[in-house]
Symmetry: C2
Subunit: 733 residues, 2 copies
């Protein structure tokens, strides 16, 4: 007789004790009951084919989502009606499923009988099999036979035979496929499907769950398509791992391949911004975050199986437990499972003793590639005195395959609850029927993935790798340093020498924590070296209102596009101004002022203000502003500083420190060996010397001679801060 | 010996009992202590002259704000350090005040020694006098003398002699002046200043507090400059009323002139959107709301002195108390005064018994003009099944003087926590130094106050009254009906026949509560009659992303302005399309879909999509979209319907009901007597007949013959709803 696949009787009893309590698990159960009951008040419906993102699609998705809840809630609460709901709905599916033909294929994805792509049908099978396993013991033989013969077996046949070529491949969709098939096999007592899912159809390293988890992630645990796609795969990955843990203990799945499961969960969580949202690395949603149900499963599973091992091996930061608890606090929910109960209890215990704050994950560099040597993604975090966390993200790793943005050396920056240097995100309205069924829109390629849409430098109005995915997949960034040990300065630097023809690029970004500043300063040095004369656009995607500049600019009386291709055709040229020495652009984003000062080593710099929306015949783009510093020459070094300052509240009519303290930025030295910049603030002179020597290490001596002055230092960089004025007198002014 | 002006010893004792409790008052005291102590940790500073909105301005404002808190907190908590803070700061002011010269005058406002306009110096004096009255008994004779002779007396002299001509005028600024002077007079034992403030310098009806409160407000309590300016005046109005209540009981201030104080507080609150924000009637902030400190004082005072009288006299709605409590819930704070204690106790009592929801004020028409016959402002509210309140606002009253927008018959619409048909608000960044010191910007006149910036009809690309303030002040809207008794339909209608040359205009707006719809439908009939051929732009200010239309449109390959004057010079023409019969425009604003269908009785209608930002040389405008239906002819009737539907959540990748149910809108009849429109939905046909007869009443018979069909009804309007399809089948589809 089929038993619940993921829960033992004893675990169910433990969960039952949480009903009605105020623990995270108690609240989860209550919220799930409420949602389920609201859905159960609607008439049962198993609709036929419909539009992508439309009612039919959503209904099937809701059906499996609520069957999955109802199965477990039946066990936990012993409410018969929940089991009945699953059985009634399954009976309708059994009656109708084989009467539905396969969808007409509209893109490269194979189609199912319920959904326009089998990916969704995998989801349906995984969740429904779990639900079935919870209620099967209450079903008659006849009821079970109908479900097995008229749904499950035809689906298994479809996935492993009809679409067998596509079944167990090394791809995030493949994880859904094997999890669904393996779990269904267990549910109907055909363990051969479980074996097939775990070891692959061919029982070698080319397919199946073990091959997938061995090969999909870099040694750091990073998934090359980025956190948005990672979090989509993490749910079947975790659910199936837990199934294997229980039903194939011989694999010792949680210790498999150096704890790859725990490692990759940790890597996913380590990318999140302080508010729990994932940076939109590659063409991703801007709003996906750790509250996603899959990430809830992952955090719960991690707590149970890896919770006591500390922070992924790092000796520096012991904060893991509080960070996991901080994530649970944002999630305000746990996986309704024994793993979630472990987290719920840990949270209860911890909050009785102390305040659990928002997570403050340590800075981390996540390497890319099967051996971890295809570059990396860098995440640096710094906390200011108020507790606010600034996070800097730089991409110097691999191209994210079909979802990849062409933005190697691109950065994003986040603080005070908002992304400041912003990622546009994908061009797509997920599940919105009138917007192409929620699929990717043309502008995803023509704008969102182009280099100019990012906080990077675009050369000659071209995209990196000429927007050639295959070419981009074959190259990667070259890490130079990632140093996050000091409190006053944390920084990273990398090269990208294969992304524009005959051009070497290096970007070095730092956060500085200086006395007298409210928030970290962001320092950025972007160095380019090419043959012949080129145009470099050093662009910054911001949000909000321009408050002031230190140069004259002219707004256009009619708007034209800034260029004709590689994303430039979507940019209106709004205003331009000649930059004298350093250009200052200050803006207000919600309650915070930001002041940017930038310069380049070439003369004749120009600041261009743009806005997206040109050549957008179906209003698919959001109207968003950006500015760029345009410089021309054989080589150039851009240097900029971004200050976060002040406070504005329109409702309470408050404005404080609208101008900030940074006064100027200058490049004072630039050789093959190093770059030296100075930043002048109201009270200090900051000198930063950065190594440009690929292959340098912490012992490498550097020397830059410039204008009769010699700068020398050892290692990757050196920072000097000289006070120029008494801070006390400034504060008292 | 000076005693606290606003608190008796017994009241202080009552307040003391709240310290450390979780009541609204307890929380208020705790929050105030925390804020005050944070400020007290800074060095004391009394700076000299500075930029408007700058450090010096803010510091003086903070100084009086925190002295005002410290005075009362000293009494309540008996912490000597709070009194000492006031005394120390006053001593520095006494030393420095007369050494400051008057500011250099930069606009028409007289300047003070601390601030660039005496309005702010009035604020300083009012709050500081109150603070002084709380601590004077702990000061030495010498300390008191210094403060009185070197600050208070020179200020009183400045306000009543040097600027005597400007002292007690009938203007919202005048209330600050008389409150400051009257309270200071009491504080230093010179009651003549109190008399002067209450009765005016000339002791006739031309000045002073009693004349002000008698003449500034319409009988409805509405203040013609709108809620934003009203809430600014409400604070000194309430504070001074309470002072008069205590020190001149013979005036019986709370019953004065038909309870004008309570009446005008009630009117202010009755304008607020369901989330507590004030509609930006006239050139106001979009974010000002009832959490403003002045409104907190007003709500507390109202609770104490008018709380038991029911809803401003209306017999229909007994909900006042819960609405006031709902406001207190949003404010999460009370006035730190005996009045606030009354509210805090009422709230405590009520919440022990029942859930206090958000306020749901009844629909209300607030008349304008000294006799209430200069038109009105209409506010209609309707609650949907989920409890969400939709609010419709129409301006058919007076021009708001110097702050007036040229938008008679303009509407705004709010639901699901957001303004849907939007008001741009003023063009100004309050207190932001680099943005012209936070003052009004040029674009306030050239764009924000123009008719085209509103949800109205602009004729021939001209502003109403040719943007002539004096002309606009001399005319007003003509109310036709305001009917809010029925559950299924609530509506209002008005004429504006003096706002465009030789043109009569009538707008009739309705909210419909129909079975099968998630939210009310907004129906709008805008009728214009003029001589000769004209162009009418029926414009809609929205926010968010266009999702679909039912007509082809062409986006521009280069952007030009839509016109050259009256605000059109600031609009980029983004796209245009020919409308066939009814035009459908659907957009997504945050989590909600909106679908608008509009038509006019002329052929050759065109939909134009615009975006603000042209001719904006200093980035003073926000970039915001709008669309308009353009129609040409001698006369026209625009009719539109706006449906609120569905749900979108990008984070959770949910989209429900993205298309809505309204299919078409048609004008089927249009005569001098009435207008008849039909709205076709997925399940019904809605017919609405509206009276166009000025002076009609509820008994007036109306008949419209059209295309061989006769529509007849009695009274202002008639609604018929016919089901055309079974709703059950639709829901099950």
């Amino acid at each position: 007789m089929t038993q619940p696949i993921l829960l033992t009787e004893k675990e169910v009893e433990q969960l039952r004790k949480e009903v009605g309590t105020d623990s995270l698990m108690g609240r989860t159960i209550e919220a799930n009951c409420k949602e389920l009951e609201a859905f159960m008040r609607l008439p049962l419906d198993v609709p036929g084919h419909g539009e992508a993102g439309g009612y039919e699609h959503n209904r099937h998705k809701q059906n499996y989502t609520y069957m999955n809840l109802a199965g477990r809630l039946f066990l936990i609460t012993q409410e018969e009606k929940y089991a009945q709901f699953v059985k009634d709905l399954l009976a309708i599916y059994a009656e109708k499923y084989l009467t539905f033909d396969f969808h007409v294929q509209k893109n490269t994805n194979p189609t199912g009988r319920l959904f326009h792509q089998i990916l969704n049908e995998h989801c349906w099978l995984m969740f429904t099999s779990l639900a079935y396993s919870c209620v099967a013991s209450t079903m008659t033989e006849q009821e079970r036979t109908a479900v097995v013969e008229r749904i499950f077996e035809p689906m298994l046949e479809m996935f492993t035979v009809k679409y067998g070529h596509d079944f167990d491949r090394i791809h995030n969709h493949g994880i859904w496929a094997v999890a669904a098939v393996g779990i269904c096999g267990l549910a109907i007592g055909k363990r051969e499907y479980l074996d097939m899912s775990v070891y692959g159809l061919d029982r070698n390293d080319t397919g199946g769950f073990l091959a997938q988890i061995s090969q999909l992630f870099a040694p750091s645990g990073y998934y090359m398509e980025g956190p948005y796609y990672h979090r989509y795969a993490i749910r079947p990955l975790c659910v199936f791992a837990e199934v294997i843990h229980r039903h194939m203990p011989e694999i010792d799945i949680y210790n498999y391949k150096g704890k790859v499961i725990g490692n990759t969960v940790q890597a996913l969580l380590a990318t999140a911004y302080p508010n729990g949202e994932f940076p939109a690395l590659n063409d991703a949603s801007r709003t996906m975050g750790i509250r996603d149900a899959g990430v809830q499963v992952a955090v719960s599973l991690y707590s149970k199986h890896y919770g006591s091992q500390g922070n992924g091996g790092s000796q520096e930061h012991k904060g893991l437990d509080d960070n996991i608890l901080g994530m649970a606090k944002i999630q305000n929910s746990v996986w309704m499972h024994a793993c979630g109960l472990e987290l719920s209890k840990a949270y209860e215990q911890a909050t009785a003793e102390r305040e659990i704050g928002l997570p403050f994950f340590p800075s981390v560099e996540l390497n890319e590639g099967p051996q971890g040597n295809n570059g990396a993604q860098g995440f640096i975090r710094m906390q200011d005195k108020s507790g606010d966390v600034s996070q800097l993200v730089m991409n110097y790793g691999q191209h994210g395959m079909g979802h990849g943005n062409f933005d190697t050396l691109g950065i994003t920056y986040f603080n005070r609850g908002q992304e400041v240097l912003r990622e546009y995100g994908f061009c797509r309205w997920v599940n919105v029927e009138p917007k192409f069924g929620g699929r990717y829109l043309d502008e995803n390629k023509s704008y969102a993935r182009q280099t100019i849409a990012h906080n990077a430098v675009t050369m000659d109005e071209q995209c990196q790798n000429g927007f050639d995915v295959e070419r981009a997949d074959s190259v990667h960034g070259l890490p130079h340093f990632f140093q996050v040990e000091e409190d006053q300065i944390k920084g990273m630097s990398a090269f990208a020498n294969d992304h524009y023809p005959n051009t070497d690029m290096q970007r070095s970004v730092f956060m500085l924590n200086l006395d007298g500043f409210e928030a970290p300063l962001l320092l950025d040095l972007y160095r380019l070296k090419a043959d012949g004369e080129h145009q470099y656009d050093y662009s910054h995607q911001y949000a909000g209102q321009i408050v002031r500049t230190n140069f004259e600019y002219q707004t256009e009386t009619e708007l034209n596009t800034l260029g004709s291709d590689f994303g430039y055709q979507h940019l209106w040229k709004v205003a331009t101004g000649k930059a004298q020495n350093s250009a200052l652009v200050s803006w207000l984003q919600n309650n915070t002022y930001y002041t940017w000062l930038g310069t380049s080593t070439n003369d004749d710099n120009e600041v261009i203000f743009t806005r997206t929306g040109a050549n957008d015949p179906s209003f698919n783009l959001r109207s968003e502003p950006a500015f760029m510093l345009r410089s021309k020459g054989e080589s150039t070094l851009f240097a900029s500083v971004l200050e976060t300052h002040g406070y504005f509240n329109e409702e309470f009519e408050q404005s404080v420190n609208a101008r900030g303290q940074v006064k100027d930025i200058r490049v004072v030295g630039k050789t093959q060996v190093g770059s030296v910049i100075e930043v002048e603030t109201a009270t200090s002179l900051i000198t930063l010397m950065v190594s440009n020597v690929f292959g340098a290490n912490e012992q490498t001596p550097h020397q830059v001679d410039t204008n009769g002055k010699t700068y020398s230092w050892t290692g990757f960089y050196s920072l000097e801060v000289t006070e120029t004025e008494s801070k006390t007198s400034e504060q008292e002014k």
